[in-house]
């Protein structure tokens, strides 16, 4: 039996090609994901280890300590005393106080270098006398920064921007532009730089001024003297530590970083594998379809095997061995393709300036095992039902002269089950909207509904495809034959269309949700804000108050307020909450809040506004008072002036910044809202930007910019999802090609007859192409329909949290999706249609 099975695989090479390709793509996706994430993880691991070679012990503020938890401001920075004490410990060779924070660098064109998130600033630790060399940053050119106004750049950044020693570069930390002289270019094994970030070094005093406070450090790193172990060092340092700081050995630090990197990449891996899973799931339909067709075509052959004494099990097994062979081949080639994808992705990321640290390609044994296993298991499982069906062929079928025709047998049972699933699923999905269980019911309902629709597609295919009649009749007899052929084998059409449906359901659903979300957030921003401009840092780090002072001095700025943000303990709640500070008079003019109770009246001083959720938590009404512990530990009685209905821009407690500022460690705003004389205009905007020194790190946005930003984020997200789902669609296209090729093969005689009685090549091609388009559009319509339904249902859930949410149907996009489905049909038909048109008429019409 084994030999028979293998011989069958070889005999049907061409017919198994599409199936193999479908499995191959899914496996390649899995293998690519595993290899790429492992390689990435390893590369980051290495670079972070290199960055830790100078560190035997690190002392850091401990945010998880009890002391940090009980103060609203969290753990404090580390003091100069601590650094001096640690440096004086026996066994310590050197101790460096580090100060790090965000520092944006503008290139020569005034644009931000890097994406704003990986642009760091730090101190060059020159020791207490200011002359020592910082071994972390050896200077390749020039000298280290020694005073305010001087900086050093990492060599990669210097090369990228063209800045050299003596040049003036523009840097911004929290808003105001600083013109700095580049005094040196250094090399570093800093992991962030290796990953494509920029690093700007200041002298320690300047760095402290910018990022912490004089004499404060964000971290202290210690190197041990000869013969002193990291653990000994940690024990020696322990008594010196304040209770909101902790000391970690270099090994522990490396381990923590490794864990963090692993956590980061495993999230990415899971997400990618989910999409690989979808592609494989789509592949299942194609495999099942192929084997069903192969078994049907071989009915006589299999019956003959049974007639000469093969048992049912042997027949089943022979089909499964065929599947196994296909799975192995697809798994192995998929693995190879996956490794190729991983290599390609890394070069692509490098080409896109998303620099990945160098490192070897990691193809682990488990990646190989999983890829091959997935290929084999998916193929064999998908072929199981057709294999069972093969075993049921009675030996007497060998004597019949015709192929066993596809029967409508079992469709009644199938339809009843399908209807039950679909109705139950739809009902559960709708019930899930109000259930408040965060989508669990809805998820189950969606699953059931999709399964129900899968089961029902053969039934649905008839009316849906019949509906295309008026359209297809334009194409004359080709259109008519295409329509009839498409419903000839409803199960096959259904499985083919279902494969396409899966991808389109997800694509449509996500588009509906993303578009609606984008519109909702945009609406929220425009409805609750009355300001003309919103000023913030590009990376959303805090802005210096200098920015709002500068802006307030402008004659055409009429109303302005900075929005502060500060953690605090409110009433008797042990969890820290965020206070928003603003200028009361300006806040009233710049925002548009809906009050549930009370009003702006009384807002200011100790009178505060709270959102509905917070008011509900504590049972507050206007006039109630509560105690607040600020981040510096001071407490104050505050009075509720108004309760506003929740919105995403303002939450929690809003109070007078005059009340809040004295208690903030660094008085900074996360945003500045303002109005100008004459409203928003390009001129006003560039005037404001000019006042701020055309600083690339600061964003001045009007409402339209905000909307565009929001839309951009969602577009980016959607495009990524489209790219990931593209694989599932490609696999589905292979499925359509496969089905058509098989259909053309099965209808060889029929096509030969048609050609003989006068159907020309063009019309023959058109017939196959139209059948393909009809099947693809059928899948497309089902997918778009289900996608819109799920988009609506999930939207109903979202609207509980996002009050401005309203479903937006992206008609243009839906049109594009259906157009794409049609295009899929055209492309998939290219080869089968050619085959049909080129068919040797004489061979085809000869009796078998």
């Amino acid at each position: 039996m084994f030999r028979t099975a293998l011989r069958n695989v070889l005999a049907h090479k061409a017919r198994l090609l599409m199936t193999t390709l479908a499995v191959l793509l899914g496996v390649a996706f899995v293998a690519g994901t595993l290899v790429f994430t492992a390689t990435l993880s390893e590369a980051f691991q290495r670079s972070s280890e290199e960055g830790l070679t100078h560190v035997d012990l690190a002392i850091e503020p401990d945010e998880d300590s009890e002391a940090a938890e009980s103060t609203p401001g969290g753990a404090r920075n580390l003091g100069q005393d601590l650094l001096d004490d640690v440096a004086a410990l026996p066994g310590v060779e050197s101790a460096i106080g580090e100060v790090t924070g965000f520092a944006a660098l503008a290139d020569r064109d005034g644009d931000l270098v890097g994406d704003g998130f990986a642009t760091n600033g730090a101190n060059y630790a020159a020791g207490s006398d200011g002359t020592a060399e910082d071994e972390r940053y050896p200077m390749a050119e020039g000298r280290a920064p020694e005073r305010a106004g001087e900086i050093a750049l990492d060599s990669t950044t210097a090369e990228r921007t063209g800045y050299g020693v003596g040049d003036t570069a523009r840097v911004s930390v929290d808003g105001p532009v600083r013109e700095e002289t580049v005094t040196g270019v250094f090399t570093t094994d800093d992991g962030n730089v290796a990953a494509g970030g920029t690093l700007v070094l200041f002298d320690t005093a300047t760095a402290q001024d910018l990022f912490t406070a004089p004499g404060e450090y964000t971290r202290i790193t210690v190197t041990a003297g000869d013969g002193v172990s990291q653990e000994e060092l940690r024990e020696a340092a322990a008594p010196l530590l304040p209770d909101d700081a902790e000391a970690l050995t270099g090994e522990r630090l490396a381990q923590d970083q490794a864990d963090a990197i692993e956590a980061g990449t495993s999230g990415m891996r899971t997400a990618l594998l989910a999409f690989a899973g979808i592609a494989l799931f789509v592949g299942v339909f194609i495999i099942a379809n192929t084997f069903t067709m192969l078994v049907a075509q071989r009915t006589r052959e299999l019956a003959l095997l049974r007639a000469v004494g093969a048992s049912r099990r042997q027949v089943t097994r022979s089909v499964l061995i065929e599947a196994l062979a296909v799975g192995l081949v697809a798994g192995a080639t998929g693995l190879a393709a996956g490794v190729g994808i991983a290599v390609g992705l890394r070069s692509l990321m490098n080409a896109l300036d998303l620099t990945v640290p160098d490192g070897p390609l990691i193809v682990s044994g488990s990646a190989v095992g999983v890829s091959l296993g997935v290929g084999v298991v998916v193929t064999v499982l998908a072929a199981y039902l057709p294999a069972r069906r093969a075993a049921k062929i009675p030996p007497v079928a060998a004597m019949n002269s015709v192929h066993a025709p596809a029967t409508a047998r079992g469709l009644l049972v199938r339809n009843s089950i399908g209807a039950l699933f679909a109705a139950g699923g739809a009902a559960l999905t709708v019930a899930g909207i109000g259930s408040g269980d965060k989508g669990a019911t809805m998820g189950a309902g969606a699953g059931l509904l999709v399964i129900g629709v899968f089961i029902l597609t053969p039934l649905l295919s008839r009316p849906v495809i019949a509906a295309t009649r008026p359209l297809l009749s334009v194409f004359g007899v080709s259109g008519k034959l295409a329509r009839l052929n498409a419903v000839r084998n409803p199960r096959r059409t259904a499985a083919t269309a279902s494969a396409l449906m899966i991808g389109l359901t997800l694509i449509t659903g996500m588009t509906v949700i993303a578009d609606s979300m984008s519109k909702a957030i945009e609406r929220m921003a425009s409805e609750s804000l009355r300001s003309d401009y919103l000023v913030s840092m590009a990376n959303f780090s805090p802005l210096s108050t200098e920015v709002e002072q500068t802006l307030a001095e402008q004659p055409d700025v009429t109303v302005i307020t900075g929005l502060r943000s500060s953690p605090a303990l409110v009433a008797d709640d042990p969890d820290a909450r965020t206070l928003t500070g603003a200028d009361p008079a300006a806040f009233e003019q710049l925002t548009d809040l809906d009050f549930e109770d009370g009003s702006f009246e009384g807002f200011g001083g100790t009178g505060v506004l709270v959102d509905e959720a917070t008011a509900d938590d504590f049972g507050w009404a206007p006039g109630d008072t509560f105690t607040t512990t600020f981040e510096d530990g001071a407490t104050r009685e505050l009075t509720v002036a108004g309760v506003f209905s929740g919105n995403q821009l303002f939450t929690g407690v809003v109070l007078d910044s005059a009340t809040l500022d004295p208690h903030m460690e660094r008085v900074q705003s996360f945003e500045v809202l303002l109005k100008t004389e004459g409203g928003a205009s390009e001129a006003a905007k560039s005037a404001l930007e000019g006042v701020l020194g055309d600083n690339p790190a600061v964003l001045v946005q009007d409402k339209e910019d905000v909307s565009e930003d929001i839309a951009f984020v969602f577009t980016l997200l959607l495009n990524m999802l489209y790219a990931l789902l593209a694989m599932a669609v490609i696999v589905a296209v292979l499925g359509v090609v496969n089905t058509l090729a098989m259909s053309v093969f099965e209808r060889k005689q029929e096509i030969g007859m048609l050609r003989a009685i006068g159907l020309d090549r063009r019309a023959t091609k058109r017939m196959v192409r139209l059948e393909s388009i009809v099947i693809a559009l059928f899948g497309g319509v089902l997918g778009v329909g289900l996608g819109v339904f799920f988009g609506w249902a999930v939207g109903e859930l979202i609207s509980d949290y996002l009050t401005t949410y309203e479903m937006v149907l992206p008609w243009a996009r839906i049109g594009i999706f259906l157009g794409l489905a049609g295009l899929v049909g055209v492309l998939a038909a290219l080869w089968p249609a050619r085959r049909a048109a080129r068919l040797n008429m004489l061979e085809a019409i000869k009796a078998e």
């Binding site: 004359g476 007859m753 050609r755 003989a756 004489l842």
Partner: protein
């Protein structure tokens, strides 16, 4: 040989529905070269029912395929009416088959997705032509299918299916109808019925029918039998009877075995 394959008399030329002159068909090259038709000249007169007979491999099917525009020829010439087939492209040939030739095959004559009437009208639907209603009715009446028009092929017997095929071949009022073993898959009663209809279409509807067969009884329905052996025409029998044909066949079979 020339006695049997003599060029037809000049007066018949005007009434020829199809004519082959010195038709040669060669398959393969070198070692595998096979001459399927070796300089065949034959003419099928309008309004006549001709059977082509011969043992397997004699080239009778090839002759039909070449003359019907289903296959290309190696040399010589073949015409349908006044149209020379040699040198026509696939598109022109397809059009010619569609508009001027009718076909009845041994198997797979009908599209299972279309009902009987739709199958009959198929060549005209392909051409985008309106069928001649009166003619259609006559054809359908001749083959006796009036009450079966809405049936699908799977709901018809083999004989009924072949009658639909005959009706389809005649529906477009073609210049000539070619049949390739049209009764090969039928029992003798159904076969006799089909042969009767083909003869009626010649007698009553004035059609021209050429049919390839190896069945002497089938050949006896024809007005004339052309015998082929080894790619050449070896005999031409007017007014055949089953006995005469059988007698002839035995002779060639015996020859074939001894040579």
């Amino acid at each position: 040989m020339s006695t049997f394959a003599a060029p037809p008399p000049a007066h018949a030329t005007a009434a020829a529905a199809a004519r082959a002159t010195d038709l040669t068909k060669v398959y393969g090259e070198g070692e595998t070269r096979v001459v399927a038709l070796d300089g065949v000249s034959v003419e099928f007169v309008q309004g006549q029912y001709t059977a082509i007979m011969g043992p397997s491999g004699s080239g009778k099917s090839t002759l039909m395929h070449c003359m019907a525009g289903l296959d290309t020829i190696s040399s010589g010439s073949t015409r349908i009416g006044d149209t020379e087939l040699t040198g026509l492209g696939d598109k022109k040939l397809t059009q010619l088959r569609r508009d001027r030739v009718g076909f009845v095959f041994q198997t797979f004559n009908l599209l299972p997705t279309l009902n009987a009437l739709e199958n009959i009208r198929l060549p005209m639907d392909i051409a985008g032509r309106k069928p001649d209603k009166e003619w259609m009715d006559r054809v359908i009446a001749t083959v006796g299918l009036a009450d079966r028009l809405k049936h699908r092929p799977s709901q018809l017997s083999g004989g009924q299916q072949q009658r639909v095929a005959v009706a389809r071949a005649l529906a477009g009022k073609p210049d000539i109808v070619f049949g390739d073993e049209p009764t090969g898959n039928l029992d003798s009663r159904a076969g006799a019925e089909i042969l009767g209809f083909l003869r009626n279409s010649v007698r009553e509807l004035g059609q021209t029918v050429v049919m390839v067969t190896h069945d002497p009884v089938a050949a006896s329905y024809a007005d004339r039998v052309v015998f082929l052996a080894d790619g050449r025409i070896v005999d031409d029998m007017p007014e055949p009877t089953a006995e005469l044909v059988l007698e002839h066949m035995k002779r060639y079979d015996a020859k074939g075995r001894t040579s």
